[in-house]
């Protein structure tokens, strides 16, 4: 017998005493089992009669489908028997289902509001002068100029002669409006205006839109970034008292709205600025969701997110650059 065999024999002999069980407390345990089973065995469901139920479902399904069948063509042709009409099952589409009318109405109303809002916004942006900006009318050249729509006047005239008087009038009106439209230049502009009507030519783009990140109108954005940096600094050194946590969450919610406004502005098209605002938005969301009841790991997560992205440092740099 090898040493290992002797060891196995020893283990089997002595192992019997490993965690040797005492007398079984059968009755006490049964009371425990009964108590735990009370909830489980109350109206215990039997085995589901799957096949029987499926048969009923199939039959009901088939009967409903046959009720919703329409005959294609409608009228019978002479000599056509009724025995074999072309039948197609009609399944209700989601837009025809009952209850979706209200959804459609809401969607249409929302779309109409959106279109109206966009139209109003565009008209306001292109015609309203902004304080501090220069406004002048486009010169009306005496010679044959290009029209505001980049269409030679001769062509327009030809169009007018070939078209109905009504359409010609409309074209003339549009041309006149565009010719006399004010051109708005940003104050302190260092180059040519790139939007609006310039030398009788309409150039696409918003004529006036305050640019929060532009060097000329950077103050609101800089101020916002500075406030965000202050919040994140406060969040970083926060001691975690319920009052301070509530204040921080409320503060973050306020800044979150402004951040989203800046995100939607075309000025944030710069990749760096957009990324900074997106990161800031994420951190603000995390802080805004916190409160005295929030578990500790959520606080830790928000802090880690802020540190990992270097949001605070980037905010400070951005706000410092804006102030200088």
């Amino acid at each position: 017998m090898s040493d290992f065999d002797r060891f196995v024999e020893f283990v089997r002999r002595e192992g019997a005493g490993y965690n040797a069980p005492p007398e079984v407390p059968g009755e006490a345990m049964w009371r425990g089992v009964e108590a735990r089973l009370v909830g489980h065995l109350y109206h215990v469901p039997p085995v589901a009669p799957r096949e029987e139920m499926w048969g009923v479902i199939e039959a009901e399904w088939a009967s409903r489908e046959s009720a919703a069948v329409i005959e294609i063509g409608g009228r019978r042709q002479p000599g056509q028997s009724r025995a074999s009409p072309r039948r197609w099952p009609v399944r209700p589409r989601w837009w025809t289902r009952r209850g979706n009318a209200a959804g459609w109405a809401t969607a249409l109303t929302a779309a109409a509001s959106l279109v109206l809002g966009l139209a109003l916004g565009r008209s306001t942006q292109t015609t309203q002068p902004v304080e501090g900006t220069g406004v002048h009318s486009a010169p009306t050249p005496a010679s044959e100029p290009e029209t505001a729509l980049n269409v030679p006047a001769a062509e327009l005239q030809a169009t007018r002669s070939g078209e109905s008087p009504e359409l010609s009038n409309q074209v003339a009106t549009v041309t006149d409006v565009v010719r006399t439209a004010p051109v708005v230049e940003p104050s302190g502009t260092r180059g040519e205006p790139n939007v609006g009507v310039v030398d009788g030519t309409y150039r696409e783009g918003p004529a006036v839109l305050p640019d929060p990140f532009d060097t000329d109108d950077h103050y609101p954005a800089t101020q916002h970034l500075g406030r965000a940096a202050t919040l994140l600094t406060a969040f970083r050194i926060d001691q975690g008292t319920p009052a301070s946590q509530q204040d921080l969450a409320r503060w973050a919610r306020e800044l979150l709205g402004d951040t989203r406004v800046f995100l939607d502005m075309p000025a944030s098209r710069s990749p760096q600025q957009h990324a900074l605002l997106e990161d800031l938005e994420l951190v603000l969301i995390q802080i805004a969701r916190l409160g005295p009841e929030a578990p500790g790991f959520e606080w830790q997560l928000a802090r880690e997110s802020m540190e990992w992205q270097g949001t605070l440092m980037r905010l400070r740099v951005a706000s410092d650059l804006g102030e200088t």
Partner: protein, 180 residues
Amino acid sequence: MTEAQLIQRFKDGDQTVARSLYDSHVDRVFRLCYRFAGEYDLAQDFTQETFVRAFTKIGTFRGEAKFGTWIAAIATTVSLNGLRKVKRSRGREIALDDHICGRSTVSAVEPDLRADLYRAIDRLPERSRAVFVLHDVEGYTHQEIGEILGIKTGTSKSQLFRARRRLRDDLAVHAGEWAS
């Protein structure tokens, strides 16, 4: 009435036969739970949980294995899962105690061979320990162990071999003592 008939009646909704099934298997289940847990209260808790699960899941028992093997499988699963939870909570408590008291968890060396053997069994990996306890302590066959743990017979054998080899390594300081 045979066990199969009892089980069928239970499946059909006759809950009075639960006690009969319990009486038939409680000793073996409690022994198994106690072997794994090593504590009276834990073993009781695991045993009760085993029967509750068995009675509520009786519909899934297809009768391919013996009812005893099936309920042993439940007991093993309940015990191992329960011990994992207990270890986690106790691990935290021990870590806290050590931190506060500043003492080591390593106790003085116990010269008693049997005590060392039991400690070595406790230190075995979970699956190896389960196979070792079921085979060498409780006397289940490799086929039954395979059904209980959901592993192949060969795997059970290799796990048992590894467990024994590890035990012998752990008890190397007592080399030769087991021969006597």
